[in-house]
Amino acid sequence: MNANDYLSLNFKDIRELFPIDTRRDFLKRLGGGIIIFVALGDFLEAQEEGRPRGGPPGLPSDFNAFLKIGEDGRITCFTGKIEMGQGPITSLPQMLAEELDAPLDAVDIVMGDTDLCPWDMGTFGSMTTRFFGPALRAAGAEAKRVLLELAAESLKVPVSQLAAKDGVIFDRQNPEHRLTYGQLAKGQKIQRHLTAKPALKEVAEFKLIGKPLLRRDAHDKVTGAGHYTGDVRLPGMLYAKILRPPAHGAKLKSADTAAARAIPGVQVVQDDDLIAVLHPFPDVAEGALEKIKAEFDIPEATVDDKNIFDHLLGAAPPANVLAQGGDLEQGRKLAAKKIESTYLNSYVAHAAMETHAALASIEGGKATVWASTQNPFGARDEIARAIGFEPQNVRVITPYVGGGFGGKTFNLQAVEAARLAKRVGKPVQVMWSREEEFFFDTFRPAAIVKISSGVDGAGKMTFWDYKVFFAGDRGAPQFYTVPNHRTVAHGGGWRAPEGSHPFGTGAWRAPGNNTNTHARESQIDMLAAAAGVDPVEFRLRNLSDPKMIRVLKAAADHFGWTPAKAPAKRGYGVACGIDAGTYVAAIAEVAVNAGDGSVQVKRVVCAQDMGMVINPEGARIQMEGCITMGLGYALTEEVHFKGGKVLDTNFDTYEIPQFSWVPKIETIILDANDNPPQGGGEPAIVVMGAVVANAIFDATGARLFQLPMTPDRVKEALGKV
């Protein structure tokens, strides 16, 4: 099976957007130089096999990226993508400088400013390098072609006699005969729309792509000079704290704001359902908010973190068949051993260290909003709708984003700041407290996977009957060679019919795939144990995809895996997965404390085939980040709730990974530079639930079916061994 079959990006979950204003004022402001426009949509049409045809809905028809070579020789890339730690601030200029033969330090990047950058759908789905990267490289190649033509004219030699290097074009026969890109751009007013895909460099020609580079924003971030949204200051700005209901679904009955109003300098605003206190100091606003006496009608709580799974199974939408083949009944008959399991995972929070923040300023009919967002253009449209402006009269600027993981694709805080700024006529900052962050987070949905499967006497799988509820289809289709199989999804993504979840749910790093891979790879392990076959050997016996075989073998070799039937009391586990086109295999070693049920992950080896790698250093950091973050949903992270009341309000009860949890991490990136780049920010997290569960099984013989594998659940499972 092909990696691209797994490119489920859940575009259908992206809401309808406003029509895109295609030609905006910024074109007039660009001034002189050379400007290359490129349309990602065209490239998707023309792309190699497997890319979503025509791209996602709502792509602009003219262009969505461009670069400018200024008369001063500076090269600037304008993109609607944002930097939230995942590294495009380094990798995008790296790609551009490569195709342009320009020095990296001559390349600037402007990100996530809706007035300066062309429309972009948002930064999620591990799409920046995969889909935006080729377009940007094409723009760079086209710009170089224009520069060569200009140089040929100026130097009066044919293009074929010219070469480009480090931002200079020179005559091969007389290298002193040269012009810099700045000299070539001077006095020019060239705007070029890319219509055909120019020839990109071959891998062998790369000087910069594939070279490990350190982050370009590190100096800013270690000195405190880098600005996040909450750090932006405007004269006269006010800080708003907003009255929140105690539970989702609660309705305000009454609010007495007199005591808050009595505090000097405090302004209380009521705008329909929005009651806010504003003050030049955020801490004073917070104190004033506490003085508001409010009463709410709270709906009776019927669901909680214990009974939610029964509730969800009762509310499940009809099945959608994702894959099927052969004859399940026949497969059941052929099975020597059959295993039926139900896997559960709880709601999980994004918990980025930066809470949602926005600063809105409205002047002369134009709103400017700084926002911590993964989709500035979506935020722009949400704000425009809320305050009754045309989208072109709303500008969203995205400073550094302090972590997103899918949680900053909804922009309520930006809407709140804009509504309040409109009401009070002054700039207003809204920065959520940690408690608000937990309350309004769009959690990874609680989900259920039911699998019935069987294996024959030779250790080959005979059937695979897979049902996923509420996690969605990403990562659900399995990639083993099973003659009789069916995979169905109840619910297509993180969205679910009204009444399913007691609060908001959304995309959480590799949405759906953590749930699906946990279930699939746990079940594969159980089949291996039932067949009495080593879990690595069992997988190899049931795989035919050479890419996955290569990745799994690389992980096993590096780990020093020796075959043994689990549970071998070694504490070794293995899991494989595919996400965003990237193949991953991980092997972990754990130690289980049978007394208190705690699990220490001691070592994780992770191998990945992600196609062409732009910045190997950045790719490794993403793998390490995935492995570390994945420990959380594997071991501790679950949202506790009663009805619409979220009981976790801070990191005391919601435990995220800490230094003492972190294993020795070894990452392997397989050489696959001849293939297009695939996702990097998400894939390695998908294996973490299963690799730890399988290692616990190997250590103890206890099988855990529910994430997270808390000490209580580990002890309970140990009791059943």
């Binding site: 730690g85 995935c626 801070n650």
Partner: protein
Amino acid sequence: MNAAFLFCGSWREQPLKPENAMTDAISFKLNDKPVRLEVDGDRPLLWVLRTDLGLTGTKLGCGEGYCGCCTVLVDKIATRSCLLKMSDVRDKEVRTIEGLAANGKLHPVQKAFIEHDALQCGFCIPGQVLHAVSLLNKNPHPTREEIIRGMNNNFCRCGAHTRIIDAIQSAAVEMKGGR
């Protein structure tokens, strides 16, 4: 850093004070410069730094002392500024991330974070760096285990932990204390 920046951040000429609020004159040293503020002594240091003084490198992560994003040095010891009142820093020496690099020369811990790529989104990094500086002040010869224990309550969601540990080990060596 010049005094003007210290007092007005990027735009404010005089620190604001709420009308009729109970204020007190609090003197302390901030990034090596003496500061005297007319301020309500109960206000949290975090917000006075970020709002009144425009020093936004100190971040709000959780507001309750769990995560360490708001870490500053008070008399050279890492302290959570969200839990500290202004009256707690009277006559003390406070150092924020903005005051760590001396005359534009990065502190060895800052340099090591850059060289190890020990950050992603960067939001927790001012707190991580200052906590590491404090740790190395107390223990210039930390083992890897001691670094892990010492840093354990500074949270990072992106998962830069292993690189942060490596960076602190390198910085210790650079500061000629490591082992």
